[in-house]
């Protein structure tokens, strides 16, 4: 009856919002297994380059392996091409890396955020096997079903399938987006048992990368 599984879900939620000149990526810091908490201070973010941040929720071991893989590939790229990877390039690389393990996937639900080649905010959202899409905002993880409808309501970004193509980045200002993130995580924490403790918010803009941590309910 009880059968050993190679996967475990360590819970948590990630969100990213793209603005016209910034990108906000946020994730809670709780790590759990089953109904227990493993730690309240665990980061789900990985800074892949100076304009690109990856937030992943799911199985922590697979996430770490994925992050290390991408980091190594990025270093090789820098040596071969004498430049850092752009966010869209990293997005494609992540997709290929995930699909490479199509028949034993990384149990990682990813959101990649950063600035594109023109300095505009970009968010890429993924499934576990690498299907990806550039969007104006996204959420992944245990709180996804609670947060997506709220984000849709507040941000209502244009579908990328529209022609002529419309701007998918939100017109909100950076501080408004950060406030929205705080409110949203507070809501997710109320109802999702795997989300809480603290939210780590990373803002990528032309000046660089800024990180702040805000407390959430710990129950």
């Amino acid at each position: 009856m009880a059968y050993w599984s190679p996967y475990d879900n360590n819970g948590g939620t990630c969100v990213a919002i793209a603005g016209s000149e910034y990108c906000v990526i946020a994730a809670d810091t709780r790590l759990s297994t089953g109904y227990s908490i493993l730690t309240r201070e665990h980061t789900k973010m990985c800074q892949l380059s100076d304009k690109c941040v990856l937030a992943s929720s799911g199985f922590q071991a697979d996430i770490r392996a994925l992050q290390k893989n991408l980091d190594a590939r990025h270093q090789i790229y820098q040596h071969q091409h004498n430049k850092k990877m752009s966010c869209p390039a990293m997005a494609q690389l992540l997709s290929n890396t995930l699909y490479y393990k199509r028949f034993f996937p990384y149990y990682a639900f990813n959101v990649l955020g950063g600035l594109d080649n023109e300095g505009k905010g970009c968010v890429f959202t993924y499934d576990a096997v690498g299907s990806y899409e550039r969007v104006g905002y996204s959420s992944q993880g245990t709180g996804q079903q609670l947060l997506m409808p709220v984000l849709d309501n507040q941000l209502q970004s244009a579908s990328p399938l529209l022609l002529p193509s419309k701007e998918s980045a939100t017109p909100l200002s950076e501080s408004e987006a950060v406030d929205l993130i705080m409110d949203i995580f507070a809501s997710a924490t109320e109802r999702d048992i795997y989300t809480g403790d603290a939210v780590e918010i990373v803002v990528v803009n032309a000046d660089g990368i800024r990180r702040e941590v805000a407390d959430l309910r710990k129950d």
């Binding site: 071969q80 091409h81 004498n82 990877m85 752009s86 869209p88 997005a91 494609q92 690389l93 290929n96």
Partner: protein, 170 residues
């Protein structure tokens, strides 16, 4: 020959060998687009080609018993603007502003050095290239015995009528 939409090349020497190199270059650029969703830098592609020039003897399957006997002129346009590279069988490559390769290359090189300037227009460059070629060719320059291609900023091989138009300006 076209390597990618933003890179083209010209060959001199054992042109049969060149086809293997061009094929390898095409695969490399497409791999890069597949992996990174962006065009490959011209210098990186040239480096990848030159790596192959050194590896001719490695591996059991497709190893050659001799180096590739061909020099290439790689012309491309990437985020650093238009650029030209020259490769030779040793696997070395140089970046140039103007270069001629092949049997008449010495005379052509000197002529290019005299007339080249950094702010030439495309038309001036076409005329210079063709007139330099004319000097070292024995037969008359016609649309049937010369090929012109440009990368500005995408690769385009001239049709016979376009070549005719350049010849008319000589």
């Amino acid at each position: 020959m076209e390597i990618d939409s933003h890179i083209g090349c010209a060959m001199s020497g054992l042109t049969a060998d060149a086809r293997t190199l061009v094929e390898h270059a095409r695969v490399e650029t497409q791999n890069h687009r597949f992996s990174y969703n962006e065009p490959m830098k011209v210098e990186s592609m040239t480096q990848a080609l030159c790596d192959l020039a050194l590896r001719f003897g490695e591996g059991d399957d497709e190893s050659m018993s001799r180096p590739f006997g061909v020099s290439l002129l790689i012309a491309g346009h990437d985020e650093n603007g238009p650029c030209l590279y020259h490769t030779d069988p040793s696997g070395t490559f140089w970046q140039c502003n103007g270069k001629a390769i092949g049997s008449g290359s010495e005379g052509a090189d000197t002529s290019l050095q005299e007339h080249y300037s950094k702010d030439m227009t495309l038309e001036e460059a076409e005329t210079l290239a063709l007139s330099t070629l004319k000097q070292v060719m024995e037969e008359k320059v016609t649309p049937n015995n010369v090929d012109i291609a440009k990368v500005a900023p995408t690769y385009h091989l001239y049709s016979p009528s376009e070549v005719e138009a350049v010849i008319a300006r000589l």
